[in-house]
């Protein structure tokens, strides 16, 4: 039993190492973003990537899909995009007998990896259709509900700079994303590497290194990773500290936060912390894992108040304060 567990963990490590190596052929830098995407993928959640154009968000997702040997579809969100453009619709076709029948034509959402590019450009109605599918992992058209095939992983991107013609995602819908990852500008060294790789005329071929079954096995293994009570207690206290009305809330929370993270935030922390533990070759979650995943798991789940927005206090700053002030031991 012990050997089996260890073998599973070693296999996990090996699989993720292969995936990382393959993606690394194309993607330079962005290690933190890729790690976040990988954790969300294994944990079975969705990720929202936020960054200015040209930083490789789409490229990262496409490369990941190529390396995963999974079906991939990309939806470019525009203001005139309709829900049916995502979910699919019934179309009239002639059957073998020559009769005209209505048949459901699947939309691009029916893929294992979906890239929702510039998700904030679509209307709220379309966004809702997308996000409902993300949450329910099924699409209902007419009276028929169509389940989405597992693994189902949505990577949405949005541009934080452009505000005109965009429909920012409501907080309730942001909560559906397991992670919100910030894609930062690469360092000078990374930029050199990007230029070296992308300006010589031919693209690196990406081979699929991780299949659907393996991915689901990784997910199962991650779910099996245990978490000690005192570590989970730390996660709970971190989430509690995001609530301004709680006595344990630090000053920054009381001053700048209107609503704290939901229990879904705590779930996201623990789930992704488990993945990180296995990614690190450990068999149990540590408080460091909690600290590591707290920012991407919570930054889009806490809502600033007017003072926080007016003073330009980011949720990351508040989370930094929380992680600094909340002790690991109760």
């Amino acid at each position: 039993m012990q050997a089996e567990v260890e073998a599973r963990v070693r296999a996990f490590e090996e699989a993720t190492r292969r995936l990382t190596r393959e993606v690394g052929k194309v993607i330079v830098g962005q290690d933190e973003v890729f790690e976040g995407v990988l954790m969300a993928l294994i944990a079975g959640g969705h990720a929202l990537l936020e960054g200015v154009p040209g930083l490789g968000k789409t490229r990262l997702v496409r490369t990941l899909a190529d390396a995963l040997d999974l079906s991939f579809s990309r939806i470019q969100f525009t203001p005139d995009l309709m829900p049916s453009d995502i979910t699919g619709t019934k179309v009239a076709i002639h059957d073998a007998e020559g009769r005209t029948v209505l048949e459901f034509e699947r939309g691009p959402i029916f893929a294992n990896v979906v890239l929702a590019d510039e998700v904030n450009r679509a209307t709220p109605r379309t966004q809702s259709a997308m996000l409902e599918a993300m949450q329910e992992r099924s699409v209902t058209v007419g009276r028929t509900t169509h389940s989405l095939e597992e693994p189902f992983f949505v990577l949405a991107t949005q541009n934080p700079l452009e505000m005109d013609g965009t429909y920012p995602l409501p907080e309730a819908q942001l909560d559906r994303f397991l992670f919100k990852l910030h894609v930062d500008f690469p360092s000078a060294e990374e930029l050199h590497a990007i230029l070296d790789r992308t300006t010589h005329g031919h693209d690196e071929a990406i081979a699929p290194v991780l299949g659907k079954a393996e991915l689901l096995e990784l997910r199962r293994l991650a779910m099996d990773v245990p978490i000690a009570r005192h570590v989970q207690d730390f996660a709970v206290r971190v989430v509690e500290a995001t609530h301004p009305e709680r006595p344990s809330a630090p000053e920054a929370t009381r001053r700048f936060i209107r609503y704290g993270a939901s229990p879904r935030g705590a779930q996201a922390i623990v789930l992704t912390a488990k993945v990180r533990a296995v990614l690190s070759g450990r068999f149990a979650v540590s408080c460091d894992d909690i600290r590591h995943v707290a920012r991407p798991a919570l930054r889009h789940r806490i809502i600033r108040n007017f003072e926080g927005e007016a003073e330009g206090v980011t949720t990351d700053r508040v989370l930094d304060d929380i992680l600094r002030l909340v002790p690991e031991k109760a």
Partner: protein, 666 residues
């Protein structure tokens, strides 16, 4: 063994090395906690014991109180240490400490937590094994370091204070041995007394005798008390039993008391006496009965006037006055009262007459009492009210003089009525007696004002003496042993008759007048250099200087390094009148810091700009026709403005003010 127990037995639990590590960390944590708590308890208990120790040393508490206090402190420390040793530290807490110290990512803590579960999952068992594999990296010393306690230095400080309190020397109180003895704190070091120059002290001794004689002759109790207080101050200064601060405070108090007395008395008694003299001179051909009274008033002798009035009253009471004499007395007193009537009284009389007329008119013919009459009546009432207020606001001297005028007027009126045969008329002796008292009181006020004026000059003299004494002390402080101006130098040196030459010799030779133990705060080196340059007269130096041997250090100077005896060197080198001279002819710059705050102003060479001001009172009418009081007031104001506006050292301002104060009209 049941199947479940068998299954549990096969499960992997945290093993010996991990638990052993945790145990070590637990004990180290407890030891650390015991030390911290013990230090805290020691701090508290030691503080209490320290207070008790100090009180015992001061004999507020009996020595027996120290034992229980120390015992209680020790018991507190013991209990605190015990509580620290018994502190509950779980394996999980110990493992967490190990994890944090070694960066084991909660491996050990999780292993302990998983091991405590009834049925660990395979992954949990794998986690336990993983933790055991990393046990070697854990270090109990890093996890629970035994470091210097946080309040250790404070405890050491309390202990040091305790030792200091134990070694503290406390003077024995008179009531020691009677249980609780009163506190006898050492007296604070005596502050520097005022040390006057010998001539000043001689002058003050004479002044004290003079003041005592004057005080005996003063009748006004307030003035007598004031002079007595001044005399006490003079004696205190003369005997050197008062500090400069106390002396200045008492001088200020006396000045305030004098100002209050002067304000109460009001205008100058000399002016009132002049008015009385003019009134007496205005009496034409006085009768021989009233002549002594009028003569005394002409001589401005209130006491003599009171005596004359008493004789007149006694004659009146005895009925010794004939009809003609009574008429003459009545005429002279009425004339005297008219002459004494002040301007305010004249206005008051007119206003009363006007008011009475109008009231009579109102009572007799109301229909003819028009609006104009009412306005006049109201105006007269207002005028009377204003005059009453003016009377109330006047000084005592002026009010007494007005009372005298009224009593004399009433006495004259009574005499007139009696001559007219009014049987109900009371004799005028009562008014005369009151007039007599008033004259006596005016005499007292005159004497008191004179005394106060003289005493004010004495106060100024005292201030000047204090200033000189301060400068002397400052010199003694700054150059102790140099010129022997310090208190001790004077006391020991006795009569400093040849002071100037002595000071010259001392400055040249670096010695002090007493010839022993010369101490110099500053500039021992320059003194030696000067001594080399000058040949000094050694034999008979002390005779010439009139200074006897003795410690000549100044009163205020603490012994400082660089002091040294100068007499031996002086004696060896001094063989006659020197031929050379200190190359620095101008000598050192005078050290002023000991005498007070240095106050310098920038000046320009030559006459400098001058201001000319036209004094309004002088220009408008000329000096000859203007009273000195008005002229002085105008000049004083101009001088005050100039003093405020221009940069004049504070010490010089005082001289200017003093000059104008001395020429103040009296």
């Amino acid at each position: 063994m049941s199947s479940r127990e068998s299954a549990l037995g096969s499960m992997h639990r945290p093993s010996g090395p991990l638990l052993s590590l945790c145990r070590r960390v637990r004990w180290r944590t407890r030891a650390r906690s015991a030390i911290e708590r013990g230090v805290l308890a020691g701090l508290l208990g030691g503080g209490v014991a320290l207070v008790v120790l100090v009180l015992v040393r001061l004999r507020v508490l009996e020595a027996g109180a120290l034992g229980p206090a120390l015992g209680a402190a020790a018991a507190t420390v013991g209990l605190a240490v015990l509580s620290g040793l018994l502190r509950r530290v779980s394996d999980l807490q110990a493992a967490q400490r190990l994890d944090r110290a070694a960066g084991l990512h909660d491996r050990l803590g999780s292993a302990i937590a998983f091991g405590a579960r009834p049925e660990p999952t395979p992954m949990e068992e794998a986690a336990i094994r993983d933790a055991e594999a990393h046990v070697g990296r854990a270090d109990p010393r890093a996890a629970a370091p035994l470091v210097w306690p946080r309040r250790g230095w404070a405890l050491l400080a309390v202990a040091a204070l305790g030792v200091g309190a134990w070694l503290m020397v406390v003077p024995v109180g008179p009531a020691e041995g009677r249980g609780l003895s009163p506190l006898h704190f050492p007296r604070p070091p005596a502050r520097q007394r005022v040390t006057l120059a010998p001539e000043d002290r001689r002058e003050l001794a004479e002044e004290a005798v003079r003041l005592a004689e004057q005080a005996a002759a003063i009748e006004d109790p307030e003035v007598r008390s004031w002079v007595a207080e001044l005399n006490e101050l003079v004696r205190a200064l003369q005997e050197g039993r008062i500090t400069p601060e106390e002396a200045h405070a008492r001088i200020a108090r006396l000045s305030r008391a004098r100002d209050e007395w002067s304000e109460k008395v009001g205008e100058g008694m000399q002016e009132l006496a002049s008015r009385a003299r003019e009134a007496a001179e205005a009496v034409r051909r006085p009768h021989r009965t009233t002549s002594p009274l009028l003569e005394a008033l002409r001589a401005e002798q209130w006491a003599a006037a009171a005596r004359a009035m008493r004789e007149l009253r006694e004659k009146t009471e005895r009925g010794d006055l004939s009809g003609g004499e009574a008429r003459a007395v009545q005429r002279d007193l009425a004339a005297l009262a008219r002459g004494l009537e002040s301007e305010r009284q004249a206005r008051e009389r007119k206003a009363k007459r006007e008011r009475d007329r109008l009231k009579k008119k109102e009572a007799e013919a109301k229909d003819r009492f028009g609006r104009r009459d009412r306005d006049r009546l109201a105006k007269a009432e207002r005028e009377l009210e204003r005059l009453r207020r003016e009377e109330q606001g006047a000084g005592e001297a002026r009010r007494q003089l007005e009372r005298l005028q009224r009593e004399l007027d009433r006495a004259a009126q009574d005499l007139a009525r009696r001559q007219q045969g009014d049987p109900d008329q009371q004799p005028s002796a009562e008014q005369m007696r009151r007039a007599e008292d008033i004259m006596r009181r005016l005499g007292e006020l005159t004497a008191g004002q004179r005394q106060m004026r003289v005493a004010r000059g004495r106060l100024i003299d005292l201030e000047e003496m204090m200033r000189r004494a301060g400068q002397q002390v400052g010199q003694g402080k700054d150059g102790q042993g140099k010129d022997g101006q310090g208190e001790g130098g004077q006391d020991e040196g006795g009569q400093d008759e040849g002071g100037q030459r002595e000071r010259f010799l001392v400055r040249a030779g670096g010695d002090e007048p007493g010839g022993k133990k010369g101490q110099g705060k500053n500039g021992q080196q320059p003194e030696t250099r000067r001594g080399d340059d000058v040949t000094l007269l050694s034999p008979g130096r002390s005779k010439a200087g009139g200074v006897k041997g003795g410690p000549g250090q100044g009163a205020q100077g603490p012994p400082v390094p660089g002091q040294g005896p100068g007499s031996a060197r002086l004696g060896a080198a001094a063989d006659g009148i020197g031929e050379g001279h200190d190359p620095r002819v101008l000598g050192e710059r005078t050290e002023q810091q000991a005498a007070g705050v240095e106050d310098q102003v920038r000046g320009s060479e030559g006459a400098g700009p001058s201001q000319s001001r036209v004094i309004r009172s002088a220009a408008s009418r000329g000096f000859a026709t203007q009273s000195w009081r008005a002229v002085h007031q105008d000049y004083s104001q101009v001088v005050e403005q100039a003093l405020e506006r221009q940069e004049i050292p504070a010490g010089q301002r005082r001289y200017v003010r003093r000059y104008f104060d001395l020429i103040r009209p009296r």
